[in-house]
């Protein structure tokens, strides 16, 4: 039997002809990404590091610093990049949520291994990169040694067919998958099939990012024309990487088909996405007090564009707060140029600085007891965005924007119909 895409990357980086599920392998890591929180608590300056050219430092979780504690982390980060000659440093002003910064700077390349502390590092699987969250201590260790170990997990393949209908996005594809099949703990996810061509790169990244919410290890997409062009425009031409395709006879734990053309917008109920998401037509239309569009999953330019189109010329409903966090400073600037931020602010949205802040309930936009939030961010866990007595529903940026206008969970296609050219 052949190898899946992720098995091929891990085998290559371990210097082995092949790997199988259950194997424990030691892999060379091509890029190690440290984030601001790494430097905030008990930071210890290493005596030596493996290779400063294989390191990036990105300020994202707590910027601009909401506390003296976080500010001190920034001081440590700046001293570290200076002392060790790390050139890939994205300080406040050219910062952004690390997975967005990784994407827009071509830091994640097909066939490579990328390590970062944050659990949504699997986002880079959209670019055929073996990427996953590894925890602060382990990322620190990789910074020093340039390698780590993986236990090869079995792979579930999603075969996409049909084409994404208007008003349906990558978020909806993910929520359909999570709602239908539930957790994929200790499994990798591999996406492909003839329907993939209709899924834009931003939606692929949403889907890859949220592999974390079904507890998967790695998520991978193949490199097709769309991905090749995306990467080439970000400094990664095709001759700079070796993509990993699955063998035709690769062995999968399961192969599941998703007919994209049959999908509608999805909404996850509070607590988990696993077996807990429904088509918007089947879900209760709960009144909401806060709507959030942002995070590594859905703070991309395309997410802000669709939200702006939905709210343009309308007002956020009384009693609703709409928060919008661009995924990076670059996204912020582009959305500003394109007029999206103007449309959002005119409608009554609060556009914030790029940060992980509201998504993980650390700073900005926390929820009070008894409140209901509809979010396009990554997690709907109890207590995630503030009070454990608040409820967090999850949906696409289009659904969140449409719901902000009506004050209750709303099918975005009703609102989108109003602006269809």
């Amino acid at each position: 039997m052949g190898m899946t895409a992720i098995e091929r990357i891990l085998a290559r980086k371990a210097g082995l002809a092949r790997v199988r599920p259950g194997d424990t392998v030691v892999c060379e890591v091509d890029l190690t990404v440290l984030i601001d929180l790494q430097f905030a608590t008990s930071w210890v300056r290493p005596l030596r590091i493996h290779d400063p050219d294989k390191v990036a430092v990105i300020m994202d979780h707590a910027v601009p610093a909401p506390s003296v504690h976080d500010a001190a982390g920034g001081t440590h980060a700046r001293a570290f990049v200076r002392d060790f000659g790390v050139e890939k440093f994205y300080d406040v002003g050219r910062h952004g949520i690390c997975h967005q910064v990784i994407a827009e700077n071509g830091l994640a390349r097909p066939g490579e291994v990328l390590a970062c502390t944050d659990s949504h590092t699997c986002a880079a699987g959209a670019y055929n990169t073996a990427a996953r969250g590894l925890g602060p201590a382990e990322v620190y260790a990789i910074l020093c040694t340039g390698a780590t170990w993986f236990q090869v997990a079995p792979t579930i393949r999603y075969e996409l067919t049909g084409a994404l209908p208007a008003g349906v996005s990558g978020k909806d594809v993910f929520l359909h998958i999570a709602g239908t099949w539930g957790d994929a703990t200790n499994h990798n996810l591999e996406y492909g099939g003839p329907g993939l061509a209709s899924v834009p790169m931003n939606d692929r990244r949403t889907i890859a990012t949220q592999g974390a919410e079904v507890s998967a290890d790695f998520s991978t997409f193949p490199v097709d024309d769309l991905a090749r062009d995306f990467l080439a425009a970000r400094g990664a031409p095709p001759d700079s990487y070796e993509a990993a395709d699955p063998d035709p006879d690769a062995e999968y734990a399961a192969v599941r088909t998703v007919d994209l053309s049959g999908l509608e917008p999805y909404v996850a109920r509070p607590g988990t996405v696993s077996h807990n998401a429904l088509p918007v037509s089947a879900i209760e239309r709960r009144p909401v007090q806060q709507c959030f569009i942002g995070s590594c999953a859905n703070g991309q330019l395309e997410d802000l564009a669709v939200a702006a189109r939905v709210v343009r010329g309308h007002k956020v409903a009384p009693g609703v707060r709409l928060l919008v966090t661009p995924a990076s400073q670059a996204v912020y600037r582009e959305a500003l140029r394109a007029g999206y931020l103007q449309d959002l602010a005119d409608a009554g949205a609060v556009v914030t600085n790029s940060t992980c802040g509201a998504c993980f309930g650390y700073h900005m936009g926390l929820l009070a007891p008894g409140e209901v939030c509809l979010t396009s961010s990554t997690r709907n866990f109890t207590g995630r965005m503030g009070s454990p007595d608040a409820e967090i529903y999850m949906a696409s940026p289009a659904t969140v924007a449409a719901s902000a206008l009506t004050g209750r969970v709303t099918d975005p296609r009703e609102e989108l119909a109003r602006w269809t050219p």
């Binding site: 602060p136 201590a137 507890s215």
Partner: protein, 182 residues
């Protein structure tokens, strides 16, 4: 390293998330204070009951969520080991890297109740309830992982290999614990 561990069990359910163990508000606190909020909503008051040497037993998909180092809080509380029907792999790696043994044992939540004595061997891969005589097989940890645990975690291992200052010799108290994440 002694791979045999005996302790008093605390049993929690399925899909206990990292947010339930290390909520965002606790990420702003020093470790000893942050540790007082483990299971803050799931089992209020638990951190006042847990004693050094206790073992946390959990159901499926234990530790789903973020990379924030919950294991550092468990170690702060003196928890000796984790046993679960199934671990989220990031959570398991964090445990090992912080020197906290974590063993997968299918069926373990049905075999133990709060307060039971639990014996386990992380190299042989089993957990046993001496009171009932039930012994359940689990996934033994690979040698590479046992090496990290034997060193007391990944950072003591790095110190031994000369990558970071040996704790106590650099003028900094305690042992290094880089922190993180959502």
């Amino acid at each position: 390293m002694d791979t045999l561990i005996t302790g008093r069990a605390w049993v929690v359910g399925d899909s206990v998330t990292t947010d339930a163990m290390y909520p965002a508000f606790a990420m702003k606190l020093p470790l000893p204070e942050a540790a007082r909020h483990v299971f803050y909503e799931l089992r209020p008051g638990w951190t006042g009951l847990v004693r050094p040497g206790d073992i946390v037993v959990a159901g499926r998909n234990f530790g789903l969520g973020s990379s924030r180092p919950v294991a550092a809080l468990f170690r702060e509380l003196g928890v000796a080991a984790l046993v679960a029907e199934e671990f989220n792999s990031l959570f398991l790696r964090n445990a090992v890297n912080h020197g906290l043994p974590a063993l997968t044992v299918p069926g373990v939540t049905a075999a133990f109740a709060d307060g039971d004595t639990l014996r386990m061997d992380i190299a042989e891969g089993w957990a046993e309830n001496p009171a009932t005589g039930t012994r359940l097989p689990g996934g033994a940890l690979p040698p590479l992982v046992l090496d990290i645990l034997a060193a007391g975690g990944i950072l003591p291992k790095l110190a031994r290999e000369g990558y970071v200052p040996v704790p106590g010799t650099s003028g900094r108290p305690g042992h290094p614990q880089p922190s993180g994440k959502s």
